[in-house]
Symmetry: C2
Subunit: 348 residues, 2 copies
Amino acid sequence: MRSPTLHDVARSAGVSYSTADRVLNGRGGVAEKSAQRVQRAIEELGYRRDIHAANLSRRRNYRFLFLLPRGDHGFFTVLREALARETVRRMVDRLVITHREVPAFDAEALAAELDATNPEDYDCVALIGVDSAALDTAIRRLVENRLPVITLVSDSASDLRQSYIGIDNVIAGRTAGRLMRLTHLGRTGKVQPILGTLGVRDHRDRLQGATEVIAAAGSGLQILPPIEVQDRPEIMLGRLSDILQGDPGITGIYSIGGGNRGLIELLDRITGPRPVAVLHELTPHSRAALERGVIDAVIDQKPAEEISRAIDAMRAIADDMPAPDSRVVPTIYLADNLPDQNANGGWT
Amino acid sequence: MRSPTLHDVARSAGVSYSTADRVLNGRGGVAEKSAQRVQRAIEELGYRRDIHAANLSRRRNYRFLFLLPRGDHGFFTVLREALARETVRRMVDRLVITHREVPAFDAEALAAELDATNPEDYDCVALIGVDSAALDTAIRRLVENRLPVITLVSDSASDLRQSYIGIDNVIAGRTAGRLMRLTHLGRTGKVQPILGTLGVRDHRDRLQGATEVIAAAGSGLQILPPIEVQDRPEIMLGRLSDILQGDPGITGIYSIGGGNRGLIELLDRITGPRPVAVLHELTPHSRAALERGVIDAVIDQKPAEEISRAIDAMRAIADDMPAPDSRVVPTIYLADNLPDQNANGGWT
DNA sequence: TCAAAACTGATTGACGTCTATCATCTCCTC
DNA sequence: GAGGAGATGATAGACGTCAATCAGTTTTGA
C-alpha cells in the first residue's frame, strides 16, 4: 500500500534513478525513448512526487506577495485581518507571506508598487484588480519575467493573470434584487440603489444584476436611478436623507458600495416603518446594524474565505498545478445567521 | 531567515541533539533542569517542528475513517460525493481516508460498526451523531483506546468526542424564521412547519429556532403546529396537500427535514399564488426547484465545507494540536446565488 | 573510423526529523 | 569505593527528493 517513489518508477522503466529524475524535472539530455518509458512508468504506477519531501530537499519556501489597500475602509480591514491570520496559520506549510499596503483606489500607485517589485523575490503575487492600462502594463512585465499574478476581489487583466478569486458582482447584485423582491411579496414599492461611483466596474455590475431582477415582470417593484456617494458616509447621509424626504414612497434601499456608516446613522434616526435595507460586506458596523434590526440583510463575499482560496491557488500555481478560477458565492447574512464574532467567519 | 531546527535548539540549550529530541518527543529519561533548558530554547528560538520532515521520517500516514449513512437521501449523497473529492485531493498530504457506509438513522448499526473497528487501524474517526446510549458506549470504548472521535452534521456524546463540525440547528431554524418574516413584511400570514419526526433532536432545534423568531412580537405571523412526515416524499405530498386544502390561509411552508421531493411536486401543481417555501439542504432537486421559482430559499449547511473542515480538525487532532469546534454558519441560497453546478459549492 | 557529442548510470551529500544503539559520565546507596 | 541507576552524548541509517559530479557507454557525422 506504500505509494511508489521515483526509485520504483526508475526500476519499472528500466532506467536509473538519475534518468527518471532528469525526466521528472525536465533537466534535458534524455533520449526520447527513455523519456517515454519513464512517462509510461509514471502513469502506470500512478506515481505522484512527494511534494513535501521535495520541498524539504530543496529548502523551498513559497514566497507570496499580497498588495492590499491601506485605510480603515471596513472591508479592507477585514481582508487584512484575514490575511494576517492565514500568514501565521500557513507558516508550517513553508508559506512566507508578505503584505504590502498600497493607497486604496489608486491604480497608478499599485502599478508603481508592482514596477518596484523584483520578480525574483516572489513566487506569486495577489492584488485587487482595477481597470487601468498602467496596471496592465505592470502586470505584463511581471508575468513576462515569470512571476505569476492572481487577482482578488475584483478582476482585471484577465488574459494575463493566472486566476481570479472573488465573487461575480452581477450575481451579487441579482441576489440583492431577489431579496428586494422577496421582501416586497404582495405589495409594490420603489428601490433606491446607492453606489460609490458608476466609474467602478464592480458597482456597475451589481447595479445591473439588481436591475435585472427587480425590473423583471411580476415584481411589482420599480428601481430608481442610482445615486453616487463616493463611498463616503457624510455624502451618503446627506444625499440619502434628502431623497427619502423627497419621496416617501421609497420602500427599499440597496447600498452597493461603501460609506454605510452614513446609511446606518440615517436609518437609526427613523422612527416607525423604514425601508428595507440591503448592504454589502459584513463589517463591525453592518453587523451591529443587523443585530439591532436597523438593516435587513448583508451580502458578503467572505473575505477570509477568499484569502484562503487565493493562497491555495497561489500555491497550486507555484507547484505548476492547474489553478482554477474560484468564484466565491455571495453569502446572505440576516440577523440570525451571523458568524462568530471573533472567528473570522468560521475560518479557523 | 531560515527557521530554526532541532539542532539549533539543542545547541542553544547546550545539550546534545539526542536530549533535545528526548524532550521534544517526551521519551523520558531526561533530568528536569535539562528539560527546562530545552523548553526555554524552544520558546526563545520560536522553534516549530517541521511536521512534513517528521512525517517523512516516520513514514506516517494519517488514517481517517468516515462513517456515513447509506442511501439515496439527497443530502447524504452530496456528503459522500464531497468526501470522495476530498479523499483524492488530500492524498498528497499523506491522508488516507476510508469511508464505510452504515444504515441511515440506525444508532445500533452505527455502534456495531464502531465496535467492529480496531482502534489501532485509524488515527481518528468521524461520524454523524445520534442520541443513543449504545452509540455513546461504542464511542467511549474507542476514545479509551486512544482513537479520537469527532462528530459531523449532528452532535452527540459531547463529553467524549473531540470536536463537532456542523451547524447550530437552532440558528438554522431562526434563519428560516427570519426569512418568513422578511417575506411577510407588511402583511400577515400563517406558517406551516413540516418535519421528519419530533424524535430527532436536530428537527426539534430547528423548529424551536423558527418558532422563536416567527412568534416574536411584531411579526404579524402565526406558526401552526408542525406535521411529521418521516422524511418521506409520499407522506409529505399526501399530508401537506390535505392541510393546504383545509386551510387556504397558509402563506408559508417551512420544511425542516427531508422528503422535499414530495413538497416540490405539490408546489409544482399549484397555479396562481403559492405559499412562501423555505427548505433545507441544497440537492439537485431543491436546486432545480429554486431555479424554476417553485420555492424561495434553501438553507444549506455546506456539506463540502463541513467535510473539509472535519478533515482539518482530524488532522489537527492526530498531530496533537488543539482542534476547536467549528460551527458552520447556515447559508441561504436564493435563485440567484447558487454555486456552480459541478463545483461542490465552490470547494475545489 | 575516430573524435565529438549525446546519453546513461552510479554515487554522494544535503534537507529536518525519527529511532535505535552504545558508550560515557555522574550520581546515589550500601 | 563498588555497583547500579539515571542521565547524556555520539553516531548512523532511514524517509523521498534534489542537485551535482564523474565515469562510462552509445550514437552521430565527417
